[in-house]
């Protein structure tokens, strides 16, 4: 992926050096803090590293590396820059509609529903899913495990309070996702903030979890891993995919991001349930 994304106009030698520097930086982070970003897609992580460098005000990656090695606080900030946290309540309403229409009827047959949101960022997806499950009457028997690499993001996720700047978009998304109620039934909007109601937080467990190094932790009926794999390199993606697959029960649902395709060659034991919304179903025994 990396080789393809490299712009041909750049001097190859310089580019090689940068690539090496980025790799060394990631290696340093891994050695020092245990966060393994080495398998991330080179083009993307390269851009993030340079963004972090620009924000740090340092002159070169060597200096940044030194600072990261010696200053854990700086690492926390840089980690925030290195990971991409794009999410939103009812972002991609078609997807939620598909969940409602295609997945929920199947979920109804499970007495306990475990949902794992791998890479939940600041938790909007977890709350969207919680709202959806609540409306479908499944929330009480659901347990949502929302995990992310970033402890800072998880802290925000646990609060369940989000800026209501694009309230219109959220309301619209909620409506288009097939929400049968008003959003006010699930959240309180005041002072430019949107606070998820306490009852919706009860069955959500936020936990720090690194898809790269940590193991799966339970059998899931639904696994969300949306717009996470795009940041991973090929090998890491395959490894993570195996983990997700391992975590899913037979017949469980895997939800990927819009540009994350399940290899259609049958390599993965999945069948397509809603290919446009990237919802797949695990076939075969775990």
């Amino acid at each position: 992926v990396a080789d393809i994304a490299v712009a041909p106009t750049r001097a190859p030698a310089q580019d090689d050096v940068t690539t090496i520097e980025v790799r060394l930086l990631l290696e340093a982070i891994y050695e020092r803090y245990g966060y393994d970003l080495r398998g991330y897609a080179a083009a993307s992580i390269g851009r993030r590293v340079h963004l972090a460098l620009a924000r740090s005000g340092l002159s070169d990656l060597g200096a940044l590396q030194h600072r990261l090695l010696t200053d854990p606080d700086a690492f926390v900030r840089v980690l925030g820059d290195l990971t991409v946290q794009v999410t939103g309540l009812f972002r991609d309403p078609d997807f939620y509609r598909a969940i409602r229409e295609r997945v929920v009827p199947m979920l109804r047959t499970y007495p306990l529903i475990n949902v794992w949101l791998a890479g939940c960022a600041t938790g909007e997806e977890a709350y969207s899913m919680a709202i959806l499950l609540r409306e479908e009457g499944l929330y009480e028997r659901s347990q949502i495990y929302a995990t992310d690499l970033s402890a800072a993001a998880l802290e925000r996720a646990k609060e369940g309070v989000f800026p209501a700047e694009d309230l219109a978009a959220i309301v619209d998304g909620y409506g288009r996702s097939g929400g049968g109620d008003t959003l006010e039934a699930h959240a309180t909007v005041a002072y430019g903030q949107l606070a998820i109601k306490e009852s919706l937080r009860r069955n959500i467990l936020f936990f720090q979890h690194d898809l790269v190094s940590d193991h799966v932790f339970g059998e899931m009926q639904v696994v969300f891993c949306r717009n996470v794999l795009i940041y991973f390199g090929r090998a890491l993606r395959d490894r993570v995919m195996r983990k997700l697959c391992e975590s899913l029960c037979s017949g469980g649902f895997l939800c990927l991001g819009a540009s994350e395709r399940m290899a259609a060659d049958g390599r993965e034991p999945f069948s397509e349930l809603a290919p446009n919304e990237r919802i797949y179903r695990r076939t075969g025994a775990p």
Binding site: H215, F217, A285
Partner: protein, 1189 residues
Amino acid sequence: MRVTIRSKLAAIVVAAVLALVVLIVGTNLIANRMQAELETIQGRYLPKMDLGPRLEADFERARRAFQDAVGSHDLDAVNEARDRKGAILDELAAARDFLDPAQATALREAIEGYFTTAFDVSRRLVGGETGEALVGAMAAMQAKQALATDRLKIATRLDRGELREAFGTIARTQTTVGRVRLVLSAACLALVISLAVWVGSGVLRSLGAVDDGLRRFGKGDFARPIAVVSRDELGDVAVQANQMADSLRQLMAERDRRDWLKNAQAGLVRELRGELEPEEVATRAVRFLARAVEAPAGALYTADADGSFRLAAEHALASAGGGAPARFRMGEGLVGQAARQEDLTVVSDVPPDYMRVRSGTGEGAPRAIVLVPLPHASRVVGVLELAMFKPWSEGAAELVSSVRDTLAIAIVVARARAATRELLAATQRQAERLAAQEEELRANNDELAAQEEELRTANTDLSQRTEELEAQRQTLAQRNADLDEARVRLEQRAAELTTVSAYKSQFLANMSHELRTPLNSMLLLSNLLAENEDGRLTPRQVEFARTIFSAGKDLLALINQVLDLAKVESGHQEVEIGPVPLADLAERARRVFTPLARDKGLAFAVTVAAGLPDAIPTDRRRVEQILTNLLGNAIKFTMKGEVTLRIEPAGADARFRRSDLEPGGFIAFVVCDTGLGIAPEDFERVFAPFEQVDAAADRRYGGTGLGLGIARELTALLGGELQLRSTLGAGSTFTCFLPRRPPAQLAASAAPAAIVEPSDAQSGRGRSPAASSPKAHASGSPAAAAPGPGEPFLLLIEDDPVFAATFGEVIEGQGFTYLLATNGQTGLRVARERRPKGIILDVRLPDMDGWRVMEKLRADPSTASIPVHFISALDASERGLAMGAVGYLTKPVTRRDLVSVIEALVPRAGERSARFLVVEDDAFTADSIVRVLEAERLETRRVSSAEAALAVLSRERFDCMILDLSLADMSGLDLLQALREQQGGAAPKVVVYTARALSRPETKALEAYAEAIVLKDGSSVERLLDEVRLFVRRFQSGPGRDGAPSRGLEPAPPDVRFEGRKVLVVDDDMRTVYALSATLRAKGIEVVVADTGKAALEALEARSDIEIVLMDIMMPEMDGYEAMRRIRADARFGALPIIALTAKAMKGDAEKCVEAGASRYLPKPIDADRLLALIATCLGGAGEARARG
């Protein structure tokens, strides 16, 4: 009464004068009395004192005058002397006053008597008388004189007592005067002093008060006026001072008030300085102002955009029961009303229940409520409300009025700033979001680019292939014509070949028969000879006989070889794997070939390298056959020098033609000779049957030329490889590599196709029977060999020989045979005629594409039901699956992919279909389930009660039970428990199918027995079918892939270390719990399960005998960290071993667990051995601890 100090002073003076007067008068009076006394003494005593001597002197002189007159005998003188008497008597008479009258009289008489006598006597004497009468008169005169002198003395004597008394009186009077004077002086003095003291003290007191007051005033303490203690001049001063103090006080109060106001204003400004949030401004303002005006509570409402007033801050209102209302509209309530007005609104008479301000020590109703509108630019931006305990004061009013503007501006500014900041923050947030979204987009782009690139590569590939195909098609067309021609010839040849083959078989059979008969006699006889029963043969002769026997046997074996080769070639060879000691092989080689070598004058040595296993698992007969062939060959073609056999580990540099062989697992049998050697171009030919390199050599050395070929085939059959290194003229080295372990496919199957070698297939010798026999199909002749009729096999329709060979191997590895069709037509024909179990279909085929093949297969009723799996480099799974394929695999593929293809196509161990028992009391539901199952062609039985179910299950064996929980006679859970007790592990798998809503504990309880729980809700029929299919697939794939092991951990044999120990497993994931429980229970451990941290604590509380805890970390309700902390907080569990099991494997996760109280840490996935070892360690330690404790 006003008494001035002056009058007091005057009073003192008067008093003093009066006292002095009294004193003087008093003393004078006394002195007068004393004077009188003195005068008495003077008048009485002093004359008396003078009189005595004078009278005496007169008397004396008179006596003398008498005497003289007598002497002078002068009578005249005597008369004269007598006249003296009158003077004395006069004098006496004059002193009458102060003489005692009696005494004076007596004196007089005495004097008179004397004079009379003296006169008489004197005259007689002068008259010269003499005689006795005269002497008597003279004596009388003497007596009279003495008497008069005595009496004089008595009369003039001073009375001492009287005198003393007089003086005493005087002295007494003197004393009295002194005393009176003293008393009076003292009294006067006392009076004056007391007056002075009285006046002085009064003055001093007043002065003190005034002084004190003035001092206080000076210090600014005007609280107390000077007390007016006296109504005098000082009192006036005090009054004046008080008045002055009052004026001062007022002045100062005024100044203070002004200062306070100024300070308060400045303080507020200070308080509101800095960049504050509007809320902070409001909070600070309310707090400050409430404190400034001493209001116990206050609130500030700020105007919102909609004109209503929102509570922005409150001070001490939260305690006032419910706090302040959050919002007022314009004109609504007092606040809203106040906002309409310009001025302050003061509500004085607040009803007691209006509101109450509470504190820790009490509560009370405020006395006044003050509402202050805060106008700014003709708009009220806020309303300040203050509740007062004190009455609303002027000062407070002035202050509040004066800061209204300040406050209003502060609010406006803060809001403006907040708005700006909010905007800025929002902009930044949006910028960040945009950046993040951009990154996401870019990552997506990368992804898409990568996918596109992949597609492009595939496309390029495709177009290349298309071109190639086009070219191929043309050549094909050309070749087709050639082929047609060739086919005619081939058919003729085939017919000939059949005949020849028949002849050959006949010949071989005959020959072997013909040869075996004499050979048997020879063997029998040579054996008898070798036994040397008569003892007539020399040992050497016996040895020869043995050699004859041995050689004969070899010959027999060789004859068998001929047949073997035929069999090997036709794929009917079989191997018997058993342990073959290497020493035996070496010994045999030595025994058989030493004589032969000796005969030819060659040296022959056999060496076995050290470090080899004693024996290897292989087929002894075959290995001996290989070695015999190789050694025989070597000795045969070596004229001089030596032949050696070395048995040694395969060198690390060994290279195999078969890519799947690794040098590490092989043993090399190296046969070296110093013979002719072989030219490299002849390497292949030496292995060809019935061929020798040098035709002339054929004659010279004789032999069949079969040996090497067979050796090579056999080596391959044993999973090894035969290699040749040689230089012409410098000898040859044949190395036979044999595996140390039996090759899997050999163990699994005796299928002939096991020796498929892709490289062989490419060698053009058509040696691989499996590859060649289906190719016979291509040429139209029926398969001569495997698979037999009726035997299940797979059909592989694939034109790439390399891939076909690889896949062939995999198929055989799975225990299946297969036929290969290299084009669609052949494939279709084979499918029609032989009915394979499944078809693996390539999309790209030379004659027609896979899609058409698929269509034709589906169109033909005889092939429509055969499952088809696509494999192609072309990514078109949707199309393939849409056509009804069971799967679609895109190249490149891995071996595992291929295995899964086979699994998808052919359910294994499917001799018996799974039997289902449906336990459902509702006839309609039961019907529908049975229909679903029967549509899947599954054998189904149905019962409507638990009792019936148990009865049926005790008689018959079912593989799966579909159970409704709400049965009339027994609860589903009870049924499951009863079944578990009755049948244990042999009980059928259970799928619960219920309309009941299940609680979490119910579900967990059921999960212990049931494979799956399907609620009758949503797409439940579909789900049920899924579960059934899943079960069937598992069932068909055999018991090894079913049940507990598939859930994770291998069960281990029981272990005394663990027998009866008690372990608490805490994990919310049932899958893990089952796997752990199965492993632990198999070891004899008693397992207690808890699914949350909370449940774990309860379990520990309930059971004191738990010896170790396995703790998951990530759990709902209470996570593992918290649970461990709580366990450790309990002194009883301080030493309880806890093993943390966590999916988290990042740096620091282990430390976190240990910090929380874990004794050990084990990352998931859990390795059973490590877990058990850890438990053993922990339990060991705990056991010791217990023993010690």
